[in-house]
């Protein structure tokens, strides 16, 4: 059973990697390359985040600190020596980010990993806010809100490779990301990986068998900071710019959401989440201004109804009969009604803000209809709910 499932996982992985390698090359369109570049980088970052959240049970709100500082160090390094001055060393550039990420993981983790659970989450948030403010106060180092820029291009190509084109940069990034993910997978197979899972599930027992959970958390923090640093370097190589904003909660929150959306319990869950995020960022964002709202709603819905993430939804759930299919269809209709309502509201409010005649009378009937449909369907869905619902009153008692 286990061998079969791991063989299936290996097959999926091979398919994913070959898609990542082939599609941008075959398509050759700039938009596709940029989509894949972004998705690969965010996948790597979300996976490094998931070492904390999924594998060790540490909910961090400050993971972007490590990728951001990795990116800063990379750009400073690159600017000091220039890409050509590095020669073949340009291929090892992400090591700068890795060193920076690991170093800051050690220093900041020393403070944050003294606590676990919710206090840990709040401390990571505080530290990341601190660093954002600090970087804004040091514009000479951070470039402030406009950031600092660099130039990754080699003026003397090595084997025809000068990082000049986006496609070359993509393969550079892909190679590093795959290497980093392979290394991450190796870590999960070490005793440290097992101990990390144990710390997530029952820190007290870990103490009983003679390990210090705090040290394990710190160790994982250093490793995950290192991988985030590599991701940060790749960001720097890809965009050739880094700003103070990349250290902040906005960025950390995106990594959290990507890792959780895909499925924090699966090794490749964050990759799926990252692709969903980049899909929103590039495709949905071009269709509607409300894309962040939809993204937030999607996240909340997943937390509410599919806490294991989106990835398990791809598999057929046992006991999924015609009744469930009907309920899924009703839910889809509800989503359509909600989108209809939000889009009308958005169009109306944007029209009002732009000063064009506010035709509330035109927008109102459609909005009211959408809302009514939504509510009727919601009631219907509640009425038809079977035994799957949680007993509301009893659930509290665990508190």
């Amino acid at each position: 059973m286990k061998a079969a499932s791991s063989r299936a996982a290996g097959l999926w992985l091979a398919l994913l990697v070959s898609l990542l390698v082939v599609v941008p090359l075959v398509c050759g369109r700039a938009a596709v390359t940029s989509f894949f570049t972004q998705a690969v980088i965010i996948s790597l970052l979300a996976m490094s985040y998931n070492m904390l959240m999924g594998q060790t049970g540490m909910l961090s709100f400050g993971h972007a600190v490590y990728s951001g500082l990795g990116a800063y160090c990379t750009i400073h390094f690159l600017n000091r020596f220039t890409a050509d001055g590095l020669g073949v060393g340009i291929f090892l550039l992400p090591l700068v980010g890795a060193a920076a990420g690991a170093f800051f993981g050690l220093v900041l983790g020393f403070v944050s990993t003294r606590r676990s659970g919710i206090a840990f989450a709040m401390i990571t948030l505080g530290i990341s806010e601190m660093l954002v403010h600090l970087s804004l106060m040091m514009p000479g180092w951070s470039g402030g809100e406009s950031g600092i820029t660099t130039d990754r291009m080699l003026y003397e190509p090595i084997l025809g490779f000068d990082l000049g084109s986006d496609l070359q940069a993509y393969y550079y990034i892909l190679a590093w990301a795959l290497a980093a993910v392979a290394l991450q997978f190796a870590v999960t197979r070490t005793p440290l990986g097992s101990l990390a899972n144990a710390v997530r599930d029952n820190p007290e027992r870990v103490m009983f068998i003679g390990f210090n959970p705090q040290k394990i958390r710190l160790f994982v923090m250093v490793l995950s900071g290192m991988f985030a640093g590599i991701g940060g370097s790749l960001t720097a190589v890809s965009y050739e710019i880094v700003t103070s904003e990349t250290l902040g909660l906005g960025q950390s929150g995106m990594l959290l959401i990507a890792a959780y959306l895909g499925g924090a319990g699966f090794f490749l869950g964050p990759v799926f989440g990252a692709f969903v995020y980049v899909l929103f960022l590039s495709v949905v964002a071009s269709l509607t201004h409300a894309w962040l709202l939809y993204f937030g709603l999607l996240f909340v819905l997943v937390v509410l109804f599919s806490p294991a993430g989106l990835l398990p939804m791809l598999k057929a759930v046992p006991g999924y009969g015609p009744r469930q299919r009907l309920r899924a269809a009703v839910a889809a209709l509800m989503a359509a009604a909600a989108v209809q309502f939000i889009e009308r509201l958005y169009a109306y409010l944007e029209g009002r803000a732009a000063g064009s005649a506010p035709a509330l009378a035109d927008a109102a009937p459609a909005m009211a209809a959408a809302l009514a449909v939504f509510l009727v369907l919601a009631v219907a869905l509640r009425r038809t709910a079977g035994s799957g619902r949680q007993p509301a009153a009893g659930a509290r008692e665990a508190a």
Partner: protein, 317 residues
Amino acid sequence: MSTLIITSLNALSFGLLLFLLSAGLTLIFSMMGVLNFAHAGFYMLGAYAAYTLGLHAGFFPALVLAPLAVGALGMLVERFGLRKVHAYGHVAELLFTFGLAFIIEELVQLVWGKAPVGYPVPQALSGAAFTVMGSPFPLYRLFVMAVSVGVLLLLYLTITRTRTGLIIQAALTHPRMVEALGHNVPRVFMTVFGVGVALAALAGAVGAPMSVTEPAMAHAIGPIVFVVIVLGGIGSLKGAFIASLLLGFAQNFAILYDLSPYQLALDAFGPGAAGMLDFELFRITIAQFAPLLPFVVMVLVLLVRPQGLCGRPGSGA
């Protein structure tokens, strides 16, 4: 001397407002074990609701209506969201409120736009309350202090002196027993969540005229509120009170000192020694450092006392 007194009063008013905000968060946490990440979002909703209601009903009625409306919204969130997520554990609850904070920010931008709205201090409360040796103290700050103290006193008396308060206290430690005695514990939780959210909304409604009412305001105050409760010890009202005042004083007094380590060294030892400190980091003055102080204080305190000022050691949270 007058600067000292005025700054102390400013610090006190900011600290009290901060406590009004963190009291609701602490109340919800100690009761339900839920860290409401969207707390600052409800604070912002309170400010915007008071602004909009104020346009129609006037400033003072809006000050009452806005927290009630936002509190009711909070109860709906608890009833239809949190209560379901509760079964999945505390992390899922935190993530749910995190997503909620995200949605609130987007909705506020959608409804009220990205630019700040004009929500000024009302005519009746503008001007100086009194002067200390020639320096005026704004009447509005005095009003904020009075509202904070009044509401918190009322809350304290409700919890300690009334029958409802007794049930809430009992539900906190012995939910099953309270349920067995015939009280609707889920409804108690819903009410507590609503009250906590209403406190945040009230803080937003009275506090926003002192700063800017814009979609970024939740993000500006949120991390500071979380610092307050971590610093005080999560779940401790007394700790939150001390931490609020501490941060209020630290931030307000830091602004007074326009000194940097580099400047100090220059004054004390001359340019030779100061040259060693001639880095951007050491040129930051204490006044510039003020927004950073809450976080630095948090890190320093946690290094010495990981459980926070009034937290119990070893409490898992």
